[in-house]
Symmetry: C2
Subunit: 415 residues, 2 copies
């Protein structure tokens, strides 16, 4: 990895060699999240807009010069990344935005942006010589790990809390993961996974513990920029749970800027659910992040004890962005709005990002002429229960055309 | 459409001008399915392997010279097609196939190969001047129509039978479709949709009625060939319900052959469920297709009265291929095998194709040195209920490392 200089603690600045199994700072413990520091001069000599235009690898691995993986280790069995960026004119008209784009990361192999992180994790696991990679999660992190591990022939062990929904567990089992259902809370599952990883030397894919995951996530921003013809949008909107995804998004824009591929930076918007907004609260009050309850239907961002608030807050503050909260009702309304105007079916967390954007435009914080990119971080098919809550009414008729006609008249819809 | 010559009835050979709203043969009625006949000399002068290699449109629309849509009408809001083709080494080892590939069409925008058909349907609807496009379906056809229509700003009206699962209806409603729940059977819903389409002049996206849909589906084969470096596989495996998908697959290979881009044709394998195999039975007995019960969990291919058996039978017979039936147990086993060896989560119908392939290899009908492409036609996230049935057991432990250790010892798995 000639492109990587070292790892650096974001708390105390201590430096570490970029070993694949170096996770956190020895001095600061789990709070000492490490940042991958690159040699941008080295990278700058190896990248150009023209070279990217000639690159036929339409996946996240086209950005190999920016990624902390050994060049020799880059077997990449699943096609992760290069998700579509849609110009969303109809949705823009509703929000009164002239230049709105939607990045549909729900079209990744296992249905979420987390595939970008897991694709890096499984390669780092192989670099570390591990046969087994593990995490504690019930959501997108787990399914992306199980899928990417299966494709590479690695074993995955996933710790889930007792309450993990059967459907989400089924996807893990289909991918051949060993699923350990810890008869307790998510915190119990997380703690037990940490102990087991420590004891048996498995590779650790727990978000925010592993510094390389954010680096995979950042490819979403590299793509946004390239897909916009190397223009930087004014605003980029992510929903925020743990904080890792928005941190990754910001890192991507920083990378482009630092290598001179772009000459400006966007403002980052972080959206949280009203019922679970510890990072947003810290952003607005300036006080430290405090644990909160997890009262929202948007399970991908229902994180009461976020593990990466520092990197997330840095992303929003350094970019001159902002954070906003939305209610569950606003999230459900946004799911239908997104689907009906773009044909993109996003999970509730993705709809939360749209709901937040809508608020900021209505408040005048975002101007209608500014360019905005909305990140859809997960596929709505992953959470049908909430899609049912979000969807409107169907029309019940007997099998007789006359009833159809009456119903359509009420809708003023006959073609 | 200079590339299209005319439409031709596959029963009686009558010819029709290729109007966007010409559906079936006047003389033969609904059984008189029309085939789009191209001017292959015209197309051959406009395509070459080199031109495709320079084409940066990585979607089904890169094959525009082969598609029956007006060049001016080609607004294509969703990124349909160019799904990944994976070399499946681990799965190949299990099946004892040296050259196995998996085409993951579950990564299309609404999660299935049907997006290819619906993307054409909505463009033809616009060509026909329609504002509303309609069909009767509960499955992938409906969701792909609703999603593609939403992205283009068209209204969609979907007729579903009373028994349509709530989750599938929710996806339609999220896409803004008008969903008419006919209080009766699928046949009732289909008949009512036909009457309403006739009466109000909506555009008809009912499969096998509309001759243009198969043309969209054929792009899956154009992609397979290009992704294999313009090699034609020995075998291509599809599951079969209505018959339209395998017919489309075959048409794509014919198109390539007729324009001289390739010099051979593959053998097509059609797989049906034991509990619902009218086309397979007709193939093996030589007798006409007869209606059967729909006794299989693979709902995408549970079609007791297939509407396109003729084109499907032609595809299998003309290609020198074969058909095979698989049990629900074999389908469930194949779901897990596919996921655990490739990281691809396919719906039961896709797993059926794998189960059928497995049988043919075991029977010696397919040789281990032959090149085989398995088509995964839909995303497993669409049918979590069956994924739960297909998946193995999770391991329940109290939050104590000792119990984890005991469980792992039983699995002989500690890293």
């Amino acid at each position: 990895m000639h492109n990587v200089s070292h790892l650096e603690c974001i708390k105390c600045g201590r430096r570490y060699a970029a070993r694949p199994d170096r996770y956190t700072c020895d001095a600061c413990g789990d709070a000492g999240i490490l940042d991958v520091i690159y040699d941008y001069d080295y990278i700058a000599r190896r990248v150009s807009r023209e070279a990217f235009e000639d690159n036929r690898d339409y996946s996240m691995w086209r950005y190999m010069p920016f990624l902390p993986v050994e060049e020799g280790s880059a077997r990449r069995p699943l096609r992760v990344g290069w998700s579509p960026l849609y110009r969303a004119e109809a949705l823009g008209r509703v929000l009164q935005l002239d230049n709105l784009y939607v990045k549909d990361d729900g079209l990744n192999p296992t249905g979420s942006l987390k595939d970008r992180a897991s694709a890096v994790a499984v390669l780092k696991a192989m670099e570390a010589g591990a046969d087994i990679v593990a995490c504690a999660s019930t959501g997108n992190a787990a399914s992306s790990l199980a899928g990417n591990a299966a494709a590479l022939g690695l074993r995955s062990i996933i710790f889930v809390p007792k309450r993990a929904p059967e459907g989400k567990v089924a996807q893990l089992l289909i991918f051949g993961a060993t699923v350990i259902s810890v008869q307790g809370s998510y915190q119990d599952a997380f703690r037990l996974s940490a102990q087991a990883i420590e004891k048996w030397g498995w590779y650790n894919r727990n978000a925010a513990i592993n510094p390389y995951l954010v680096e995979g996530k950042k490819t979403v921003s590299l793509e946004i920029c390239e897909q916009l013809g190397w223009q930087i949008p004014d605003w980029v909107v992510f929903s925020v749970g743990d904080g890792c995804t928005i941190a990754g998004g910001w890192k991507g824009f920083l990378d482009l800027y630092r290598t001179g591929l772009t000459d400006r930076l966007p403002k980052m918007v972080g959206v949280q659910a009203e019922g679970c907004c510890p990072i947003s609260r810290a952003f607005h009050t300036g006080r430290p992040v405090e644990p909160v309850e997890e009262n929202t239907l948007a399970d991908s961002i229902a994180v009461g004890v976020p593990r990466n608030p520092d990197k997330a807050l840095l992303a929003v503050r350094d970019s001159g962005g902002t954070m906003v909260n939305v209610s569950d009702e606003e999230i459900l309304a946004a799911m239908g709005l997104l689907g009906a105007t773009t044909g993109v079916f996003g999970e509730p967390a993705a709809a939360a990002a749209l709901a937040g954007l809508r608020k900021l435009v209505a408040d005048g914080a975002i101007d209608r002429h500014e360019t905005v990119v909305l990140c859809v971080t997960g596929n709505g098919l992953k959470d049908i229960a909430n899609a049912i809550r979000a969807s409107g009414e169907l029309i019940r008729v007997p099998p007789d055309l006359e009833y159809v006609e009456r119903a359509l008249k009420r809708l003023e819809l006959r073609g």
